[in-house]
């Protein structure tokens, strides 16, 4: 065992079905976010910035876009002589082929990969969240508490506690109780789905869990409750900062809009903690004489001739003269023709919005997801 060494296992197989058309052709971690990123860039950049250079990425649902985005990991400095980034899809063996049954099963199936790297600790991450976090501080906490498991938690608004897995803790951050989506929560600390385990003990639990016929092979439902029952030390690491689960179209839109706030807690301009992504080598964007722009994020290769307000624009977008885009997220390659009025929309890649189209209304709460052949309203 390499003392003190931690590797990360990133669960990136989820579909994110509530994102609807956004995940029609790609897995949730590959969904574009914030003008130039994909969601998975956040945990991957966090790993790289936290000096974790061995990352296993567990893929399952429509992995093509994700695979080509990750490549050999050079965008995150994860192309290493030994270790580095590894994409780990399900595979076949003598017993035939099978899909990953649950989060824990996905790790179980890749015990060989982890054994080869021989770490002391394993960090379990999910590829669904937007946040910046120094995992090495969490590891310091884990070591200091001599914990068997450390679970990262964040304070959520009390009225939203019923949407999360809530953890109750004592003064020493020792976890006393787990409540899954409680109606009347005793605390507002929600699990972020980020765990640190000691590999030796996790390995044993994964093997014994796999033998149970009725297990869900899930960390939250099986592994952690079992370890708790066996008296293992489980601590909560309190994370402070921006954290968002972009589970639905509305929350996806909101998380993008959050970037436009002046006091936006997810400071993407911080040079000490850059978010890296695959780069496309496009020229800067051009803004013409007719354009007007307010509170908007714009990226490379765009040509802007219309009016933009409170919006997030990805790459290579054309906004024609007299088009108006407000409170919207526009993905790469979109053309908004002249005379369009677009409010509260998420427009998917390569859509051409024909001249004089009106989508949404200025004072509506509804968010519209616009794809090539249909428009979906958010619940």
């Amino acid at each position: 065992m390499k003392e003190g060494k931690m590797i990360a296992m990133l669960l990136a197989g989820g579909q994110g079905s509530r994102l609807k058309l956004l995940t029609k052709d790609l897995a949730k971690p590959a969904v574009p976010f914030g003008g130039k990123f994909r969601i998975i860039d956040f945990p991957l950049s966090n790993c790289s910035n936290s000096n974790i250079f061995d990352v296993g990425i567990l893929t399952q649902y429509k992995p093509y876009v994700l695979n080509s985005h990750i490549g050999i990991g050079s965008a995150w400095d994860l192309d290493r002589r030994i270790g580095g980034v590894r994409v780990l899809p399900p595979y076949t063996n003598e017993q035939g082929g099978r899909w990953y049954k649950g989060t824990a099963n996905a790790i179980y199936e890749n015990i060989n990969f982890i054994d080869e790297l021989d770490p002391e600790f394993v960090l379990i991450l999910s590829g669904d969240h937007i946040y910046k976090m120094d995992y090495s501080k969490m590891l310091d906490f884990h070591k200091e508490k001599k914990a068997d498991i450390t679970i990262s938690v964040i304070e959520v608004p009390w009225e939203e506690t019923s949407r999360f897995g809530i953890l109750n803790i004592d003064d020493n951050n020792y976890i006393t109780e787990f409540e899954e989506k409680p109606k009347h929560a005793k605390s507002n600390l929600a699990s972020m789905g980020i765990y640190i385990f000691d590999w030796k003990s996790l390995r044993a639990y994964l093997i014994s869990d796999e033998k149970k016929a009725n297990s869900n092979n899930d960390f939250g439902k099986d592994i952690i409750p079992q370890m708790r029952m066996d008296g293992k030390q489980i601590f909560a690491y309190k994370f402070k900062g921006y954290w968002k689960d972009v589970g639905t179209i509305k929350s996806y839109w909101e998380a993008n809009m959050d970037l436009l706030a002046d006091d936006n807690a997810l400071d993407l301009y911080d040079r000490q903690w850059k978010i890296f992504s695959k780069n496309r080598h496009l020229p800067p964007h051009y803004i013409s004489c007719e354009a007007s722009i307010q509170r908007t994020l714009i990226n490379e290769g765009c040509v802007i001739e219309g009016h933009l307000e409170n919006s997030v624009l990805f790459n290579e977008i054309k906004i024609k003269p007299h088009a108006k885009v407000v409170n919207s997220v526009i993905l790469s390659g979109v053309v908004v023709e002249s005379g369009c009025q677009i409010y509260n929309a998420v427009i998917m890649e390569d859509v051409v919005v024909k001249a004089d189209t009106v989508i949404g209304a200025p004072d509506s709460e509804t968010v519209y997801l616009v794809s090539k052949n249909k428009i979906i309203e958010s619940e």
Binding site: G34, K36, H281, P284, I287, I293, R295, E300
Partner: protein, 378 residues
């Protein structure tokens, strides 16, 4: 173009660029919001299918090394071929220190000699163009010539190519020689300083010039031997600009505000690659007002910007007026600053309320890392 080796020679005369080229060769000048001049040459070669490129760096090495690195951005980090860098060396054993770059080519001749390619594309890096070399290369091969010159017919009414090389032909279209454009003719054939040359001819020329002592510079060796070999010329018809003086550099940048020029330069025969910086989106704040400008990623803009080129990671605060200017990477322009016809080098800081006005023919230049404050304030 598998059978063609690329050579980029950066030993330029960069005195007319003054402050801008104090610590960098002309090829490393930032250009077009996120590029360096050399990116055009490298990307053109790579997009045309040249896979082995040697860069002779000239003496301002740090900037070149920093930008090119392993050549990854251009897909030149290869096991076979790829990017080779040749820096000047100082020979302590010889009494006669040599003037010029020819000796450097001689010292590093192994690169050419042992390369499998039979032809060489020799270029400098003072021209901005998006060029596909395949047609020119084929034309050179078909002609059976020893040396191929790429030129462009220019009508230079604004004297934007003074000091550049001029290719001359007689009435019958036979090559006469290459001279320097002093602006005597408005219409002429501009040499793009890109030459195809057979490897055997290149080695002959190099050895011969050194033995006879007839040249100190590669260009000189080439020019003096042009009458000995069969020379063929190829006409390039696309957009080209040069950056050999401050004014030309400024005008070449402003040219890309013309959408026709920018779409040709950045897309026509493939993309232009450069070192990536992982900058986030550019954020236009509440008071931002932008007209006719080219703006790179990672900027935070709250002021008025017109007819300008803004590089990556620039901050322009509230109340600023930036017109007809070039602002390079990571500069910070504080509140209520007024700039007109200004070139700000990388990481300059312009403090509150400063006014800097240059002239179209001679823009004001703020040197790298300069901090400029109003009189009496710090």
């Amino acid at each position: 173009m598998k059978n063609c080796l690329g050579i980029i020679n950066l030993s330029e005369v960069d005195l007319p660029l003054g402050l801008l080229c104090q610590n960098r060769p002309m090829a490393m000048l930032p250009f077009g919001g996120r590029y360096r001049v050399i990116d055009f040459m490298l990307s053109n070669m790579v997009n045309s299918g040249i896979t082995g490129i040697g860069v002779y760096t000239g003496n301002k090495v740090r900037s070149v090394m920093d930008h090119l690195g392993s050549g990854q951005a251009w897909d030149l980090d290869r096991k076979l071929n790829g990017l080779f860098l040749f820096t000047p060396t100082y020979d302590y054993t010889s009494i006669n220190q040599k003037v010029g770059d020819l000796d450097l080519f001689y010292q590093n001749n192994a690169f050419v000699r042992y390369a499998k390619q039979e032809n060489i594309l020799i270029a400098r890096s003072s021209m901005i163009a998006n060029i596909d070399y395949n047609a020119a290369y084929q034309d050179f091969l078909d002609s059976g010539a020893d040396i191929g010159i790429i030129y462009k017919n220019v009508v230079d009414t604004k004297n934007r190519f003074i000091g550049c090389d001029k290719v001359n032909f007689d009435e019958n279209g036979n090559f006469v020689g290459i001279g320097t454009n002093l602006g005597m003719e408005e219409q002429f054939k501009l040499s793009m300083e890109m030459y195809f040359i057979k490897k055997t001819v290149y080695i002959d020329m190099l050895y011969d010039s050194i033995e006879k002592g007839s040249a100190n510079y590669l260009k000189q060796a080439l020019f003096t031997s042009l009458n000995k070999y069969k020379v063929h010329a190829y006409e390039f018809k696309g957009y080209v600009s040069t950056i050999n003086t401050v004014r030309n550099y400024f005008d070449a940048n402003m040219d890309i505000l013309n959408p026709e020029v920018s779409s040709e330069l950045f897309f026509k025969h493939g993309q232009i690659f450069t070192k990536v910086k992982d900058e986030p989106s550019t954020y236009y704040k509440k008071h931002a007002k932008i007209k006719n400008s080219f703006i790179a990623n990672g900027c935070q803009i709250d002021g008025f910007v017109e007819n300008s080129i803004i590089f990556r990671g620039v901050k322009i605060d509230k109340g600023c007026i930036v017109r007809n200017s070039i602002v390079m990477q990571k500069s910070h322009i504080d509140e209520n600053v007024h700039l007109n016809y200004v070139i700000l080098d990388k990481r300059t800081t312009i403090n509150k309320g400063v006014t800097l006005i240059g002239d179209p023919s001679s823009p004001y230049i703020g040197g790298k890392k300069a901090v400029i404050s109003k009189e009496g304030e710090t």
